[in-house]
Amino acid sequence: DLLDDITQAKKIRISTDLAIPPSGMMDSSMKPTGSDVEVAQLLAKDWGLELEFIQTTGATRIPNVLTGKADIIISTLSVTPERAKVIDFTKRYATLQSDIGCLKSLNVKDWPDLKDKAIGVSRGTTQDTTLSNMKDKELKISRYDDDATEVTAAVSGQVDCVGTSATIINQIGVKNPARIFESKIPLATFDLAIGLKKGEQRLMDKLNAWIAENVKNGKLNAIYKKFHGVDLPADMRS
């Protein structure tokens, strides 16, 4: 059983993508940082385990736990029913507020205004899936491999709209003051959860208990606010 293995090894291996700010990234001295990184560190500390980050890319987050190369994933996994067929999700430890952000000067009030405007997204993210499923709205989606490319596309003028987290929307204007972006239409709020291999019920229970405790004591909210600038939603904190 995985929990026993972890306890025995005194070490937990966590699969985290360190190239998706602000959840996983490097600080100016090239140490891992970000909201997911701090969640992982908190977990390891609470359980008295050594922490090992398994460096992954978006494509290998899941195979890493499926093949036993990592124990769990903390890497902005949004919960969808489709994905739940492959791995198990814990209860949510955070949420991700996503908006459609556009050039400030752009007159966008509602969905019809977006017609024929290219919307940049990170490929395969839940924002992408959500927008892609809005078939009736005739949206034009430009998919980039990661957030950085998506931001660069917005900064350089390849797209005037993006579908991503509010934090990233604000970042565009910082990079290029001539192109200030702001949130125009709220897209959705996704639950973020820890992922693990199917059938590890004991580990799952223990993770869920840990999440419940740290939601209650406000530690997870503190981490979230530190990196995303806002509190977790009220319904989660109560």
């Binding site: 978006g58 494509a59 290998t60 899941i62 195979p63 499926l66 093949t67 969808t80 489709e82 994905r83 067929k85 492959v86 791995i87 940049g120 490929r123 395969g124 993210t125 992408d128 899936t129 430009s142 998919r143 980039y144 491999d145 490319t149 660069t152 596309a153 350089s156 003028g157 390849q158 291999k197 199917k198 059938g199």
Partner: protein, 227 residues
């Protein structure tokens, strides 16, 4: 192991895979034709006595060959946008791939040119053929014939390398795979299917080149030498 593969769950998205494969083939086809032209010109340019042209061709070839395609694609895509020029992802992808494969083609073609025996060119000179006629009749076609396998491999390589176009929002095969695997979290199934599709695409390309070779090199066809 507990890993269970569920191909039907991924295969049901076959229209997306198909669209991705078609786009990959389109990118490869455009870049192959344009890159072959550009590369041949650059190879001829490197061989001219005009040191300005030769130098420019050399710088082009060396810069492109010694830097990653991904960086080239970024520079074209974002660079053009920063200059206020907006082109579709497809146009940019074809442009970047052409510039890239042109440099490799130039090197291969140059080797082919150098492989033409001196006596052949002297014989043609002795028949009063002009430089252009010699290039066309005596150098170009036999050189292409000699390096044809290398060219074929290079263009198949280009098709495989076109996967980085996913970075600039071209929805080719790898982009489709990335989307499907992060949507379903079935990375194994997706990558295995994609591997098979790429093998099929490369076989399609090789078959195409083989057929083209039969048309271009009648001697090979007559004498039964494998291409």
């Amino acid at each position: 192991m507990s890993l269970q593969l569920d191909f039907p769950a991924v295969l049901e998205r076959w229209p997306s895979f198909l669209a991705g494969a078609v786009l990959t083939l389109e990118l490869a086809a455009f870049a192959t034709v344009l890159g072959a032209l550009l590369g041949t010109l650059a190879a001829v340019g490197r061989g001219t006595h005009n040191s300005l042209i030769a130098g420019a061709c050399k710088i082009y070839v060396e810069t492109i060959r010694n830097t990653p395609l991904l960086v080239q694609i970024f520079l074209v895509y974002f660079g053009l946008a920063s200059l206020g020029l907006k082109f579709s992802a497809f146009t940019v992808a074809v442009t970047a791939l052409t510039i890239n494969v042109g440099a490799y083609t130039a090197e291969i073609m140059r080797a082919g040119f150098e492989a033409i025996p001196r006596g052949q060119i002297e014989a043609a000179e002795g028949l009063a053929l002009s430089r252009l006629q010699i290039y066309w009749h005596i150098i170009l076609l036999p050189a292409v014939e000699k390096v044809y396998p290398a060219l074929t491999s290079q263009f198949v390589l280009l098709m495989l390398a076109s996967s980085v176009c996913s970075q600039i929002s071209a929805e080719e095969l790898t982009a489709v795979a990335n989307y499907i695997q992060s949507d379903t979290y079935r990375a194994f199934e997706t990558y295995i299917i994609v591997a098979v599709l790429y093998v099929i695409l490369s076989l399609v390309m090789r078959a195409g080149f083989w057929g083209l070779g039969l048309v271009l090199f009648p001697r090979r066809r007559r004498l039964g030498t494998p291409l």
